[in-house]
Amino acid sequence: MAEDVAIIGIGMHPFGRHDNTGMEQGAYAARAALKDAGCDWSDVNYAFGGSSAAGNADTMVSALGLTGLPFINVANGCATGGSALISAYNAINAGAADVCMAIGFDKHPKGAFDPDPADFGLGKWYGDTGLMLTTQFFGMKIQRYMDQYGISASTLAKVAVKNFHNGSLNENAWRRKPMTEDEVLNALMLSNPLTQYMFCSPGEGGVALILARGDIAKKFQKKPVYLRSAVLRSRPFGSFEVFNSWLSPDRGNSPSVGAAAAAFKMAGMSPSEMDIAQVQDTESGAEIMHMAECGFCEDGEQEDLIQSGATNLDGRLPINTDGGCLANGEPVGASGLRQVYESALQLRGDAGAHQVPKPIKTAFTHVYGAPGISACTVLSR
């Protein structure tokens, strides 16, 4: 893959809880990304964006300028940001645009999501009887995984401890207070084996990225980061997802397996060549399982890797260097773009207190969500 598509500008509204609207947080991120890219809104000739609960992204043009550009709203659940990025990537590759914006933002009410069964093709009975909770799925997926592959509760807690530590070093993160393993393990059990501090919370925030054709990137940005691949996959038969009233005994792979493999293939690189990774950590167990699903280790190897600190900032493969979803919360529309923002920041060497100490050239991102979608990217300097 040639140096076809570059990220020339990155902008972020801090994640957390704020008084301004989700849309305003998106516009803030867009202005920051344009400033970072050294370009004007009028230079952008295509935009893709979305939120799941904070309005139509394209209405933002009234705050950024009515330039008449094509702006397509993207709605793809937890992969909304990733889908916006892939759309921008494809638009540039297709020759439809030279400079593109991908934007995601959101603002969710407090507490667990409360989706409508009908939106997921399920009968009303499923919600009536108390099965319509994403937290149950996460509990049951890692429960079986721990039983099959010998992952301990201590390892679950260590993932949260690491991500809260990384978040404490990141000024854009929501949760900035480090926690101990005991504090995580002894917290309220929400969905056995997962405690309160092993889960991320719905939150707020916005991220914008400005992409450009690789050959013009340096006109805007001294330190462009190249998007080597961007891939989205939906679920194959036999995968285990949120809100499945039944599963086939003929078990299959998660959509993350296919998305990650395709992203590495498109980039012409392998998981072992990645210097850092951001993987979906909706809860601690998800980060553990996604390490294997994305190809970074075999099932069960996470126990030693995490216990030995291999995924810490100073480890062999730092994971979720900005604190991940656990420390940043999950504004659904923005979450996948946050991972790419963080990767670009790290690749440029601009991550400050949470910059990984080793020199890095490559990065990987992975987002996963309902009803079984995954988006992955491979980036390099």
Partner: protein
Amino acid sequence: MTKQIPVAEELFTWPSDSPQLIGTHYPDSGVTTFPQSTACPKTAAQNGERVLLPRVGKLWSWTIQGFLPKSPPYAGKETPKTFKPYGVGYVQLADEVIVESRLTTAEASELKIGMDMELVIIPFSTDDDGNELVTYAFAPVKK
């Protein structure tokens, strides 16, 4: 006289002394869905047949719902004060299908992947007339 009303029609056989879940079996792929469906998710075939599922199986995974779910969609009438955690799991019924279900126990020490489970019908709420709303659940098989 209060009645027991199933949460949905055609989810399980009711009333019955030995209730069974009702699914759809697709003869070409061998796939069985629960509840019933109109197309096979593997082959898209539309020639599914209504089948009654085995009443016993093995626990495939489990969790315990530790907090009161939001209403809607939850139709239970508990308050944060009266709420008691409930078990949720997947139970593999022979080689046919793995079904998601409430469990009759919420004690982690009583749940082990691979243990034998059997279908029961449990009340989970009441309607405005005081009738019991019932759903299916799996209970550990008593030795």
